[in-house]
């Protein structure tokens, strides 16, 4: 075979202008599995990324420390590390601190990456009369804002961990020695940055507490979303639109206790003319939601995979301007930008479908096979 470059690729361009790749798989029995399949799937969509960002969120990864918050932190220099560690010692009991295992790989300018297993300082939590989660969130936000990019806590949940950086997925997996870990759920992302720079902290998934978000597309409503969330104490520090989604899920589900099935009615609500045609009660509910959370309406082309302990959620935008496919096979629920990436790890699927705009798909550990909720459009 003649190399393509001499035939019809005179510019030696072996990539295509395209969007990001998303992939997630969850074992609903809660059985942990290694990185082989998730990596194979996300690598199968190589054309969707350009090597300027990739990442993995792994759930069920630290069973020996599952009661402790696991912080993964990036440092650009030693001074930042000293500052953050001093702060952690003051606000938390640091049970274990170690450098994240890494090895040689095709990545550029990796920062120092450390991991800390911590528990909040109980007397301070009680003093402030807030929950442990809120205490952790507050401190993560404070450190990330004050460090201005010199240090970044990019993973802060219990029994889960995010690994991400600048490179292709296989390079990032190699760099962070992912062969050493197992999880019952893997969320993967390969990035093609458009509006914001490709830097280590800007790679997906984005994470806060045990929430992670991997995202393809853009949020044209970012400004409005950000203002709304800042009023609730969230600080946007990562130079990209995706983080508002993480905070939106945290606010709605963890803090405001909105049932998951109502979340898409806030983020990707039905159009007003559809609401007008609904039954009185439904109309009231949806009107109230749209009015209360108008600042969380997510506009623009996007598809998302959101995860937290025991749950994997898929959601495309209302106009379906980015792809998202769901598949079920054996004990697994898969979400992917392309069906082929699911098939490459599970050729025979019990069910496979392309999501409709605003359709939420939720996979839960120990739940009946999966829960499919078609709500946002409510046809």
């Amino acid at each position: 075979m003649r190399p393509l470059s001499q035939v019809n690729n005179p510019y030696k361009d072996d990539k295509n202008i395209d969007a990001c790749a998303l992939f997630g798989m969850i074992n609903i029995e809660g059985t942990r599995f290694p990185f082989k399949d998730p990596l194979k799937a996300i690598s199968n969509m190589r054309e969707r990324g350009n090597g300027l960002g990739a990442g993995f969120a792994v759930y069920g990864i630290y069973p020996d420390h599952k009661e402790l918050y696991a912080f993964h932190v990036m440092y650009l220099n030693r001074q930042a590390k000293r500052r953050v560690e001093k702060s952690l010692e003051e606000e938390f009991r640091v049970v274990l601190s170690e450098e994240l295992p890494t090895k040689e790989a095709k990545v550029s300018n990796p920062p120092l990456t450390w991991r800390y297993f911590v528990e909040p300082n109980t007397s301070k939590v009680n003093e402030e009369k807030i929950t442990e989660d809120d205490y952790v969130m507050k401190n993560v936000m404070r450190i990330n804002v004050s460090e201005r990019g010199k240090a970044l806590i990019f993973s802060s949940g219990k029994n889960m961990g995010v690994f991400k950086g600048v490179g292709y997925p296989e390079d990032i997996a190699e760099y962070f020695c992912l062969e050493e870990y197992e999880g019952y759920m893997w969320i993967c992302h390969s990035r093609y940055p458009t509006n914001t720079p490709g830097w280590w902290g800007g790679a997906h998934p984005f994470s806060l507490l045990d929430w992670t978000v991997a995202h393809n597309g853009e949020l044209s409503s970012y400004g409005a979303n950000r203002r709304f969330l800042e009023a609730y104490g969230y600080k946007c520090t990562m130079q990209t639109d995706t983080e508002v989604l993480t905070y939106a899920f945290d606010l709605l589900v963890r803090k405001h206790k909105i049932p998951l099935e109502l979340v898409p009615k806030i983020l990707t609500p039905p159009f007003w003319d559809e609401i007008d045609q609904m039954q009185q009660k439904q109309k009231q509910l949806l009107t109230a939601l749209r009015q209360t959370y108008s600042g969380l309406l997510m506009n623009g082309p996007f598809s998302l995979i959101v995860a937290r302990q025991g749950q994997m959620i898929g959601l495309p935008d209302r106009m379906k301007l980015r792809p998202l496919t769901a598949g079920m096979g054996g004990s697994f629920l898969y979400l992917s930008s392309e069906e082929a990436a699911i098939r490459v790890v599970q050729p025979t699927l019990d069910k496979v479908w392309n999501l409709t705009g605003g359709e939420i798909v939720v996979g839960m550990v120990k739940a009946p096979a999966f829960v499919r909720l078609q709500l946002a459009t409510m046809r």
């Binding site: 003649r2 792809p323 496919t325």
Partner: protein, 258 residues
């Protein structure tokens, strides 16, 4: 340059079959597979059977002539892009952009398709046995021939968006589900969309019309071809009522600059 190792690697993927050459596409990158396909076509092969296709893009891109592809697996985006004559049978589901700017030939998919199937199609025929995603037939256009898109299942919203020519036939054969597609023919200014059964939501720029004799003849012919491909009963399909959707105007902005 061609090296002996590359030739051997290529040979191990190939197998002469009856009237065709088989290609094992396992773990090939898109450009490798397409370069190999072009090479084989150049050497005169008229039948290509592609096995273990997992997401490779642009299969059949820009190829002309009397070639028959059989694709086994799940091909990636832009299958048959710019294709100009070959017949392509896909035994599996296809990704987004199937038949993008296709000029002539046939694509038959024994499964479902992703978004924007038949995007900017200029000629030829696409038959999808099951559902299609959003914006099927977006910006289809007809010049000397009418491009044709036939869908056996249901379609996502915005079918026939900005359509400028050609024919879309939406059959909705799964009786358990109604057509839920909204914004049908938004911004269309040419071509025609036929929908089997009732529809609920038209897009701006489109209007409904009654079927006439000529329409029925076109529909019957396409349904027959669909049934021959996928083994359905055509008389049962034809029995139900069809709705015809056409543009309100062929030049909606004609007076904008006058």
């Amino acid at each position: 340059m061609e090296t002996p190792t590359e030739t051997l690697k290529e040979l191990s993927r190939l197998k002469i079959e009856e009237g065709a050459i088989g290609v094992n596409a396992l773990e090939m990158r898109s450009y490798e597979l397409n370069a190999l396909i072009r090479d084989l076509v150049k050497k005169g092969f008229k039948g290509l059977n592609l096995y273990n296709v997992y997401g490779q893009r642009y299969i059949g891109a820009g190829l002309s002539g009397d070639i028959t592809f059989k694709v086994y697996g799940t091909p990636g985006n832009d299958l048959g892009i710019f294709m100009n004559g070959p017949n392509m049978y896909v035994y599996g589901n296809v990704g987004d952009g199937c038949g993008n700017t296709m000029n002539d030939g046939l694509i038959a998919v024994y499964g479902h398709a992703g978004d924007i199937v038949g995007y900017s199609m200029r000629g030829g025929k696409i038959f999808i046995r099951d559902d299609v995603g959003y914006r099927a037939g977006i910006h289809m256009k007809g010049y000397r021939t009418a491009p044709t898109l036939v869908i056996g299942g249901c379609a996502g919203d915005f079918i026939g968006e900005y359509m400028a020519g050609g024919i879309i036939l939406l059959l909705g054969l799964d009786e358990s589900r109604r057509h839920e597609t909204r914004f049908i023919g938004t911004g269309m200014h040419g071509g025609v969309i036929y929908v089997r059964g009732k529809i609920t939501h038209l897009g701006k720029g489109a209007k409904m019309m009654d079927i006439d004799e000529n329409d029925l003849r076109v529909i019957c012919e396409l349904v027959k071809q669909f049934c021959d491909l996928f083994n359905f009963n055509s008389s049962k399909i034809i029995k139900q009522e069809f709705t015809k959707i056409v543009p309100v105007s062929h030049r909606p902005y004609g007076r904008l600059y006058t």
